[in-house]
Amino acid sequence: MCWNSGMSVIEVQDLVKHYGEIEAVAGVDLSIDAGEVFALLGPNGAGKTTIVEILEGHRTKTSGSVSVLGCDPAKAGRAYRERIGIVLQATAVEEQLTVEEAIDLYGSLYPKQRKTGELIELVGLEEKTHSRIKALSGGQRRRLEFALGIVGDPEVIFLDEPTTGFDPSARRQAWSIVENLTALGKTVLLTTHYMDEAQRLADRVAVIVKGKIVAEGTPETLGGRESATALITFEANGRSIEELPLSAGVATLSENGRVTVRSMDPTRDLHQITGWAIERGVELSGLTVTRPSLEDIYLELTGGTGGV
């Protein structure tokens, strides 16, 4: 049931879920505030969907504590479901209905119902208003599911891999729908295995691997990204890398003749490398200094298992 709470909108402590012998979720903590967009990022089978489905009330937990809007989703029932919106993976809507009928029908289940016409416009299905769902494309169906997920004007919205299988333009449309929601101050929990999606939409990201959160932060700081190892690269032009004076970095020479220095202290290393080059009158052609991208961090955290 629900109780009053001054805590975050979504509060999860030490959540564990077993399917028989398999530990799908192995002790997860989450704390998500009102109005926040939070992304669970991870490879397939990492436990993202299981976590979201426990929060939605579709599954029971093995142990740990879970609270959404001050409710225990497993027990809260109707009153809880009036306040949340769900966009599931791989669900269908009755194909015999039209877009308008489906939105009307699902809307009629909630105390607060958003206007069907406005929703159809929001998800860009105006031309399909009177079409049977049977006749919609995959992307159009997914947009209809967005509309059904928010038809009850929910406070919290769960989006489980909202754009998997989309073409690039459909993804951009879906993203702008999510951005519309966040502009209304809704709390959004989304799962994804797309880096760019997390980066574009989320205020905070948790990377989950094998049922455990391995890193958490804003897309800019995730995994110590802002202070992580920098990469200094330039053309070797036949020189040996042993000559390089480095205080904190490690240099490697790739087959294509490019030197890569992984440095924990890039300011100092860069100064030494350029000083060394100037002393010898050598031009460091193709010199670059880069921070790892979110994708690099993600691949590092997930051991390169991130599938796209």
Binding site: E56, L88, T91, A92, E94, L97, L109, Y110, K112
Partner: protein, 276 residues
């Protein structure tokens, strides 16, 4: 905060929507509404509308109510089982479960809709029988016919939901309902009037299952030789017993999510991709 929709208005809108789904599904509508009617018309042509000697009634007088029972059972037992199981396969039940709609109201809408469709198919059948084949309806037994019908469709609706609860897929529901209903219809007095030649063991099998207890009293209510008001309390009680047990088991074992498709189709696709 606006007002929560009342249970009654939800039940009403759910029933309407289930009706809409049914009538927009040509296969279900054909097999429920027209197939029994077709059999009735064919039997009337093949046998001619003569008196069936050992029964003392005309072909139409027997087959109109008998095929009405078949239509009513198709509308409740077969349709509810198959439609519900397919909706679970597609994730529609899971979607419903994530909304504030009370599960009992959703199921109630399905049952009321199935009973409305059954009523419609029975009315069509009997009207055609009366208008074109001289089928007689008797005031004395009309009430028992109505009560038999109501208990029959309610029990078979419960049985349909029990099948939906225990099968793993829509295909399985189709197989189970056809494999049970069709053979039973042959020796429960639906497709063929019961004869003296039927072996006792087969009669015992027919007596065990509920179909005969629906067909026999309903057909008898349209038999001019039936004496009194036509009440067959033993059959009504036995059908009720089946219905209550089936309903309780259906509630106990009902699943809102497909056991095969846990996580849905996309998940399976992804697993396949990971292997490849």
């Amino acid at each position: 905060m606006s007002e929560r929709p009342s249970t009654f208005s939800l039940l009403l809108s759910q029933t309407k929507y289930q009706n809409k789904i049914f009538f927009r599904n040509p296969i279900a509508a054909f097999f429920t509404l027209f197939f029994p009617l077709m059999i009735f018309l064919v039997f009337s042509l093949v046998f001619g509308n003569e008196e069936i000697p050992y029964l003392g009634v005309t072909t139409a007088q027997y087959y109109a109510p008998a095929m009405a029972v078949f239509a009513a059972v198709s509308a409740t037992y077969t349709n509810l089982a198959v439609a519900t199981a397919y909706q679970r396969d597609q994730g529609i039940l899971k979607r419903i479960r994530g909304t504030p709609l009370p599960p009992a109201v959703y199921m109630g809408g399905k049952i009321v809709s199935a009973i409305m469709i059954a009523t419609m198919s029975v009315l069509i059948m009997m009207t055609i029988g009366v208008v074109f084949y001289g089928v007689q309806i008797f005031a004395a037994t009309l009430l028992s016919a109505v009560v038999t019908f109501v208990i029959g469709v309610a029990s078979f609706a419960a049985l349909g939901l029990l099948i939906a609860a225990v099968v793993s897929s829509g295909e399985a529901a189709t197989a189970v309902t056809n494999a049970t209903l069709l053979p039973l219809a042959f020796f429960s007095g639906v497709f063929i009037p019961p004869t003296e030649a039927m072996p006792a063991w087969l009669d015992a099998v027919a007596n065990f299952f509920p179909l005969k207890h629906f067909a026999e009293p309903f057909v008898a209510a349209f038999n001019p030789l039936t004496v009194g008001a036509g009440w067959d309390w033993a059959s009504l009680g036995y059908m009720t017993f089946w219905g209550v047990i089936a309903g309780a088991l259906a509630i106990r074992f009902f699943k809102w999510e497909s056991p095969v498709g846990r996580g849905g189709r996309s998940k399976r696709r992804k697993k396949g991709a990971a292997v490849a």
